[in-house]
């Protein structure tokens, strides 16, 4: 039987409550696995919000109602949150700039969302899947906020 602390997978329909609900799930998972440093948890929540917002925007751009998939797992360093969308993925040029930690000019908002996420967590990785983007963020227990 699955129990508290086991990996968790949830699918969220894109709607106005998505971001808050994802944060609630991540916050709850962190509590379950004993990751309770408030500053680190809230840093992780900001990073997750940025990534989930990008996923929502990607889905909205192509008019998709596909769910955003969130997975929570506990790695050796700390909790790892993976957010996957089927929004068609990032153009190669944008992906390269994101990987270099640059601002994405022309995007909605300040263009600093992923840059901000990368700076708040200990690790951020981006994979392009066949149909969209999969972003994982890990918050190590020892990282200084």
């Amino acid at each position: 039987m699955p129990s508290d602390g086991d990996p968790l997978r949830a699918e969220f329909s894109p709607d106005t409550r998505l971001l808050r609900t994802i944060r609630a799930v991540v916050r709850s998972y962190c509590r379950e696995v004993g990751f309770t440093d408030d500053v680190l948890v809230r840093g992780l929540l900001v990073a997750v919000t940025e990534v989930a917002t990008n996923a929502m925007d990607a889905l909205a751009r192509i008019g998709s109602r596909e769910p955003v998939v969130v997975e929570c797992a506990l790695g050796a360093a700390g909790p790892r949150i993976t957010i996957e969308d089927r929004g068609g993925g990032m153009p190669d040029e944008v992906l390269e700039r994101v990987r270099r930690g640059e601002r994405i000019e022309g995007s909605e908002g300040l263009g600093v969302g992923l840059q901000l996420s990368r700076s708040l967590v200990s690790e951020l990785s981006i994979d392009e899947t066949r149909r969209g983007t999969r972003v994982s963020v890990t918050m190590a227990r020892e990282i200084a906020a």
Partner: protein
């Protein structure tokens, strides 16, 4: 170890966010609380711009009870900052949270805004 599949049922409340403005003498104090993200940043921006428009001296933005704040909130603050400069209104941000401080620093906004760690300090900064 097995992966749990979570069925999520959302409540009716749209994000735990509140914002309001009150006046202390000639100073407007805009107090935000809860979570500011892309869904609530529009309301935050609207309140900030209204506070700036209704002020002829200082707007203090109280972020002491903001739990999480993403880049959309930074966009709202920048819009308010630009409007405040045009109107010759001083905008002071109040926060003591290390996550907000780090967010501002990463976005390079810590040097753009006048910041204080308490409402008393913001009042003295005027």
């Amino acid at each position: 170890m097995r992966t749990r599949i979570l069925g999520v049922r959302c409540g009716d409340e749209v994000n735990g966010f509140r914002v309001e403005t009150h006046h202390v003498g000639v100073t407007s104090v805009t107090t935000a609380a809860g979570e500011i993200d892309s869904y609530t940043a529009g309301r935050f921006r609207q309140e900030l711009l209204a506070a700036v428009a209704g002020s002829d001296s200082t707007v203090v933005v109280d972020l002491l009870n903001v739990e999480t704040m993403d880049s959309s909130a930074l966009g709202a603050l920048l819009d308010a900052h630009a409007r405040a400069q045009e109107a010759d209104v001083e905008l002071i941000l109040v926060f003591d949270d290390p996550v907000i401080a780090r967010t501002m620093q990463i976005a390079g906004l810590d040097t753009v805004f006048t910041c204080a760690e308490s409402l008393a300090q913001a009042t003295r900064a005027q």
